[in-house]
């Protein structure tokens, strides 16, 4: 009995030593890789996607820590963590307008604008990965697929399935009415009203009582998606607290 226990512990110690050795070797392999190919990762969004997918397949998260090898040698970390900061700032600047809900497309445009023309190119996939990491900060960052597009939520508003489904309905025209909901989703009036009121309360929807026939509930998050409106850099700057 006693011998078996010691044996198991010793095996673990031995494996730990082996891992340490392999780690050193891996580190130098990674260094070599970085010296040859670091530029590719920096320049090429396609390569970044492939790289991330490969890591995910084997169960490795290159963005988990700034102290990880991947981050230190390849610089992938700095790229995504800085992107995270830029995403937070854009969302904060526009929150008063859209209540904390923004299309991925608009977020992409605003982030690119903020980065300036000499900065590294950034793809929508890059943004999604950065946002997924931001969730760890507990601030309600979420990604909501709505029809063919993605909505990015940056405030801890409670959005359940009902809300999401109504957002999807609104995507076509930028607004939705109680009748629309009843016709498409076959809900009761009360259920539709509750969802719409919640969106209003959270500042995600605007009430338009002057629309013909019945009240329209507009979603400012979808405005640029529909009308390719752009707020100028000046306006964005003014919007910052």
């Amino acid at each position: 009995m006693h011998r078996r226990r010691v044996g198991a512990g010793a095996i673990a110690k031995k494996k730990l030593a082996e891992m340490s050795k392999q780690l050193d070797m891996f580190k130098s392999n990674l260094e070599e890789f970085a010296s040859k190919h670091k530029q590719e990762i920096w320049k090429n969004p396609e390569f970044r996607v492939q790289f991330q997918d490969m890591c995910a397949t084997i169960g490795v998260d290159p963005l988990a820590s700034g102290k990880g090898f991947w981050s230190e040698m390849l610089g992938v970390g700095d790229f995504y963590y800085e992107l995270g900061v830029q995403i937070i700032e854009v969302c904060l600047a526009l929150k008063h307008q859209n209540g904390g809900l923004i299309t991925l497309e608009e977020l992409h445009q605003q982030v690119l604008r903020g980065r300036g023309k000499f900065a590294q190119d950034v793809s929508q996939d890059d943004l999604i990965r950065a946002i997924k990491k931001l969730k760890a900060l507990g601030t309600g960052f979420g990604i909501i697929p709505v029809g063919g597009i993605y909505l990015i939520q940056s405030v801890p508003a409670e959005l359940n399935m009902d809300h999401t489904v109504v957002l999807q309905l609104a995507e076509k025209n930028g607004y939705v009415t109680v009748s629309d909901i009843k016709a498409s989703l076959k809900w009761e009036t009360e259920r539709a009203r509750q969802v719409l009121e919640h969106l209003l309360k959270e500042g995600l929807a605007w009430l338009d009582l002057q629309a013909p026939w019945e009240a329209h509930y507009w979603l400012p998050a979808l405005f640029t998606h529909l009308y390719s409106q752009e707020i100028t850099a000046e306006e964005a700057r003014e919007a910052l607290p």
Binding site: A8, S20, I58, D61
Partner: protein, 377 residues
């Protein structure tokens, strides 16, 4: 020699370089023979470039080298056409030029030039009559050649990039295989540790966690991507305590974790923290007895507060503020007090939880009132 005309030295479409030879006299230049022209370029000043069309050549002859003399090719030319573009000389009494080969190559050049004269390829592949000049260029023509040149460069670059990328992928795949082995190894170690807790020292467990951190492997036991308990995070926690002291005081003793993330990373500039790094370091603040702590509100919002900060006391002052105004929304309160809306909301919610405020939830928003049920019952 008036047969020459200035040229920008770009090859025309359909024109290909046949041979080039350095060391040609006209004060040391490079002679280029193309299918259409004979081009001379100054070796020192590449901008200085002259050419004449091969069609101008009547015949050529060789002149052997002698003592102190280099080999030459004499090129006899037709008279200059009246509509010739500007060149180095406006008129000349000679109807031939001598190409002096200072660095040899005359034999080969002569051969090639003769070939071109025989084949007369310029007749089959017409190129626009007006050659390029580097004075007063015709926009349309130059752009076409320029674009071809640019496209060529882009194509080369694309091929180069493709080659680099496929090489990069190959190397990456090899790396990933090694990384996968490490993942497997770490799983088996984790199992051993789990089973025989007592035989692994505290120190070894910490070492193991730091290995996982380096590789980005999730801790197979706890499922977190290795956070608390590594030296790195302890160090980080101490750094944060130092960095955040003043900003916190400036902001009333409390900041959301998002604000902290932006502040710290903006200050660092490089070697940024991942969101997980930050959270994991903050989780250790209290245990390390540092003057800050991490707090998680019911809503899931995470904040850092000074130990000296008593949110509950702030609630009392919040109640006063709300009472003065009758009622307030989070936005209004935030503006009055000078806080972020997010934290303002949390404070009001806390006040409500403690029974000091009650809410009026309508489509116009969430409004807080002093809880008169409590105070006036």
């Amino acid at each position: 020699m008036d047969r020459f005309l200035w040229t920008s030295g770009l090859l025309e479409i359909n024109e290909t370089l046949v041979i080039q030879q350095r060391g040609i006299k006209f004060d040391a230049g490079t002679l280029l023979l193309s299918t259409h022209r004979l081009i001379w370029r100054d070796q020192k000043n590449h901008e200085c470039c002259m050419a004449f069309p091969l069609s101008q050549i009547v015949f050529i002859e060789e002149q052997a080298a002698g003592i102190g003399k280099s080999a030459k090719i004499v090129v006899h030319l037709h008279p200059a056409p009246p509509n010739k573009e500007p060149g180095p000389f406006q008129s000349s009494k000679n109807s031939y030029i001598k190409l002096s080969f200072k660095e040899h190559g005359q034999i080969e050049f002569y051969r090639r030039l003769s070939e071109e004269m025989t084949q007369r390829r310029w007749e089959n592949m017409p190129v626009s009559q007006s050659l390029q000049t580097n004075r007063g260029p015709q926009p349309g023509r130059i752009r076409a050649v320029g674009i071809v040149g640019i496209e060529r460069k882009l194509e080369e670059k694309r091929k180069e990039t493709d080659k680099n990328i496929s090489e990069a992928f190959e190397d990456l795949s090899k790396l990933m295989i090694k990384a996968k082995e490490m993942v497997e190894l770490s799983k088996s170690i984790a199992n051993k540790i789990k089973d025989k807790q007592g035989d692994i020292t505290e120190d070894e467990t910490i070492r193991f966690k730091s290995y996982l951190l380096s590789m980005g492997i999730a801790n197979p036991v706890t499922r977190e991507t290795c956070g608390s308990g590594t030296h790195y995070h302890v160090q980080l926690a101490r750094q944060l305590a130092a960095i955040l002291q003043t900003p916190l005081e400036e902001r009333g003793g409390i900041m959301s974790l998002t604000e902290v993330y932006c502040l710290v990373n903006r200050a660092r500039g490089m070697e940024l923290l991942s969101p997980e790094d930050l959270v994991n370091a903050c989780k250790m603040l209290e245990a390390l007895k540092l003057p800050l702590r991490l707090r998680v509100f019911d809503s899931g919002v995470m904040v850092i507060e000074l130990q000296s900060h008593k949110e509950e006391e702030m609630v009392a002052s919040a109640l006063e503020t709300v009472s003065e105004k009758g009622s307030l929304t989070s936005e209004e309160f935030a503006k009055l007090v000078g806080m972020s809306v997010l934290l303002a909301k949390e404070r009001l919610l806390l006040a409500e939880k403690m029974g000091h405020l009650c809410r009026d939830d309508s489509v116009e928003g969430l409004r807080f009132y002093p809880n008169l049920f409590m105070t006036q019952s």
